[in-house]
Symmetry: D2
Subunit: 370 residues, 4 copies
């Protein structure tokens, strides 16, 4: 049951890379919420392959077909199912997977988990393609949140060792988030972005790949949402973010860097802001104290590993003979998954925050009414 | 419902720092598993306060009283409830908390979340004391796992900027884990440990605090456990680890460092090991591919922030008047929570792995029989 | 999140009566299980409308399209999504529903629950048509169970006051269950069945409807499955059975009749049966003691109300004016839903038992291997 | 994990009949709700043994000790743990249970489920004594509901074949519910109640037992609460009610009787009531349409089997030898569990409704504020 996530809002992802379709069911949406399908399609296009030199050549328009749960442009409140067909499936690219597992892929673990019965074509259910359904769910969540003045946006914070500029989350606005989302390569500093793109081109030419870091920010979350311990914002968001393929780490606010600081450096002093609200002078906590929102921006960083699929030969073993061998992946793949993972991280954070709000304010409460 | 965690094994934590007791219910344990309560008490003692210069002066023996679920030294399979009394509660140390929130504490968010009705004494349910119940649950989980030759151990990887030696997880043995756990200050390099203790002493004298990093390793997990997406090992472990107070980040294997690597550097080649099993030459994946165990050691790193409570005056606001003010915390607190958090991290990982095994092999399956 | 059910096996139903499709995702199936889609289609045909004089004239072949989770005729272990298109949708039959609610329908409660945003056409997500997805899931579950020699079958026990013959569940065989399932009108006594059909014809001519009782039996469940209290077989099965529209009561074994008995009459004596297994002389407990299977047949009775939709005028109110009025339903409907509900009850019981077995034996345990 | 129930409000029951204590954790309560512990104790006293000729001679005052979650007489919002000590445990009454299972008890199924490791003393976790924790949770839920003018009350509808008078649920008031709850033998017709008591005395003298039916009514639930399918009121309440030991059937409104009616007889016409609210002329639906509350009284009937424990010898088998034998239970037991089960049913319904309201309106929403 690992492809279902959520408490009050549950999402159920399904599909295999080279099966008929991937998709998602969202169960527990508040009713009457406007959903703009064109906007959702634009959001999905940010994740779609084939748009640039750094992404896989697989051609998919990733058009969601709505099977249920929308009526006259608004959520019914009943389960919303969206299906995205796999049009450019090429199963012939993916043979021998069961015999010679690719390093750092799920070929071997999938075989062990499913006793060899899982669909091996294109990674099957392990494929990054499953995030198309997650993105659709996130597009819906983002739209619902934005009607309540909650904005979620992410950017590339690093590709390899190249860092985007550091921003002070206490100063970020919704306009900043919208501006970076509109960019083809979503960084604050376009100069750094150019260097990142160059690096990606370089590793592509080398038949190699590279990882990176995505930073996601959510503005406008009311204070007091979440629970201590396992129902907290960190536990909730990390449980969905760590479900995204290739994610190696999730941290909040100053994250692992806070472990190097003194308390006097790390603590965020309380203050009353210009419009009379309680805030903090700094935001190393990433908007979360004791698991609960404090009204400051939610800040989360997600570490993404380099794409495991390489055009170079790699050492592996033949599981039938037990002999060492090499594997070369001739399938289509991204030299760096990070740019396409940006909307996926946004989607996961938006879904997580919407679920937390539904726990706090219920699916029928006045919070959701215009 | 944020204090309940788990799928097949559910733990329910309860208690407030200065109420009658803290405790835990474990529901879903496999029956017939030996539980050595003395060993559990020893494990809890690793977390207990008052043992050293770097921990709070609060005196608690943290003795668990079993109310249910154990019979003749073995789990019944029915809910196991353990209660740990709060003997050295001193509610007078914690006044004004509702009016002047301490920076980076849950005073403000707790007030917002619970409309001011939560127990403010000693942080109430937000207190680190709640991890005593988690540790008891973890002690039980560790014992059950060790009967199946699965060993979980953690160590301090860093205090502030001082790092313990780097170890190759492909070479670590259960004896290594046991040896470090037996240490009063659990690091591999005692020389680095001495420097860490000195730093903690220093910040204590300054009325300050410092954070650190804990690395936890699990040996012996069979390959093929976990699910893709949200039921994976990463999503599962991070959802319990991010529930521990003061945790700012959770990463697996090479973690955020993998984001800086090329794929050719980060990938773990498959091999057949000396005893004929499938393994990998390196373990940057931390024993997890596609969310599922690959049979290599599980490696997780947890970033801990510096204790928010300081003896220094800190800037805050008076929530009633809206005026700036300062707050000084005269309560007992640790200058560095990291050493006491080591068994807490072990506990969380052990509980998480036990739950994953129960999902895979069921609560009644032959996996649990001798 | 009310359309998702299950613990280890989760099913997620979606769809509206007159939207593009209804369907289901099954998440948590054991891998490698054979699924015969023709057999599943035959099972769905037992529920499909338009087959007889007593069912709605809506024409639907209810053909499931598999989007994921099946590969080479076996379950992958990853989510299995099946979609059933709505081909004969006629939304024009269902106007004024929002203004004048039909008695004992969900028109009014749906409006209150969803603030008027739910899809009102044909009952939307409240339609009995949603049970097509449940039946598909049940078809899969039944096939998996039958490979483990667990057989689930149901029959019409009563239509109105006309009862089928009483059978002793201790004597029933899998062949008996298969024989009754193969009947067009699934009763043990065809003579009583004829009377039931006559009654249904009569109420149809009167523009009225009639209810009935379905009895479902499961043979071959191993002893020891289930939990005390809320994880028991009764709690589990009733939570899915009471989710079926029109179900008014669920009872086990002798059910409400046992409330009239003395303990000496109601208790089931233990014995060793002919093949040396522990059994009971009678089965008033319906195969369940303390929530847990005892190895005897599981017996559950489900009370179904008469179809709320009538061709007669019925008293209602105009919600806009507050004035009394009458409502006549001109839409297609069944005079008696009971015959088509028989496979739905079988499906629900099969899904429930499969989930209980997955809790007990895990999704990867040897229980599921050939 | 079968002893945890709930979605937004989770209750975790623990304990064994002859262990140190039984108890409950309530996780997810809205904060700031008044809890009168004396009132809770009075409610628990309605379930406690030893109060009358028809209940077990076990002497327990069933005094709840609060370990957490209450502060200054109100819920904190954090987990509320209550423990009830077992003072009159007499394990010596319960030997040979593992070898010779009592008919229609959980002795055999418990042994199978837990591989013989469960606590056999007094039924262990299967004991009716576990309902003390459920009653405490229900006492809290009832108090919270009554502050929102939602009243839950139950009565004995039948003992054996003797029926209490039939009441029209559309006419019942909160005062009626309070009056019947205040009775030592909770029936509407005291004359019928006397006959019931006589029957209970009779079966006690015969060393036998007798079952009965409990009807529970909830007034004041707002319309529009619950979900279609598995999140409905019926699915929710039946999943907790069928968790109560000895419950054989759960039905709503007219229940199984509706299966005998025509639609024209069973349907509840809508009307505008005297105070201008939408209501129904009759209430055969038990206040529920399509799984969702319609604002009319919730009506649920619960069938209880006769106590399995008898003073008469009963046929059983010796599991070690496989030989037939007889078993006589010399332990304390009730000749009729129905009177003591009345508050248990009320508790379960109150908890179920509170959870449904928390799903609808959230744990922090204005619904819970004064």
């Amino acid at each position: 049951m690992g492809s279902i996530w959520g408490k009050q809002l549950k999402i159920s992802l399904f599909g295999e890379s080279h099966g008929p379709a991937v998709g998602v069911v969202l169960d527990g949406l508040p009713p009457g919420q406007k959903v703009d399908l064109e906007e959702a399609a634009s959001f999905l296009a940010r994740r779609a392959p084939g748009r640039s030199s750094w992404s896989t050549a697989r051609k998919e328009t990733d058009e969601p077909h709505i099977l249920s749960g929308l009526y006259r442009g608004r959520t019914c409140g009943t389960p919303l199912c969206a299906v995205i067909e796999n049009k450019d499936a090429r199963p012939e690219d993916y043979r021998d997977r069961e015999r010679i597992p690719r390093p750092s892929h799920a070929d071997y673990t999938g075989k062990m988990r499913y006793h060899g019965f899982n669909d091996p074509r294109g990674g099957g259910h392990f494929s990054g393609r499953l995030t198309a359904g997650l993105c659709f769910a996130g597009a819906v969540a983002k739209q619902i949140l934005s009607e309540r003045n909650i904005f979620v946006g992410a950017r590339i914070a690093a590709i390899g060792e190249i860092l985007d500029q550091v921003l002070d989350s206490t100063q970020i606005t919704g306009a900043d988030l919208a501006a970076v989302a509109a960019k083809r390569f979503p960084v604050f500093s376009d100069e750094q972005g150019r260097k990142m793109v160059e690096l990606i081109e370089l590793v592509r030419e080398e038949g190699d790949s590279v990882g990176g870091i995505i930073e996601c920010i959510a503005l406008g979350m009311p204070a007091g949402v979440g629970d201590p311990l396992f129902g907290g914002v960190k536990a909730t968001l990390s449980s969905i973010l760590h479900g995204i393929p290739a994610v190696m780490g999730v941290s909040f606010g100053a994250g692992f860097a806070s472990s190097k600081l003194r308390g006097s450096e790390n603590n965020d002093s309380f203050l009353i802001d210009a419009v009379g609200r309680v805030g903090t002078a700094t935001n190393r906590a990433g908007g979360i104290n004791g698991g609960i929102t404090n009204g400051m921006p939610i800040v989360v960083n997600v570490g993404i590993k380099p794409t495991a699929t390489l055009s170079q030969p790699q050492a592996s073993v033949d599981l039938r003979t037990g002999e060492p061998t090499t594997v070369v992946d001739t399938g289509r793949h991204d030299p760096c998954i990070v740019p396409r993972a940006v909307p996926v991280v946004e989607a996961a954070v938006a879904i997580g925050l919407l679920d937390l709000l539904l726990v706090a304010f219920g699916v029928q409460g006045p919070f959701w009414l215009d």
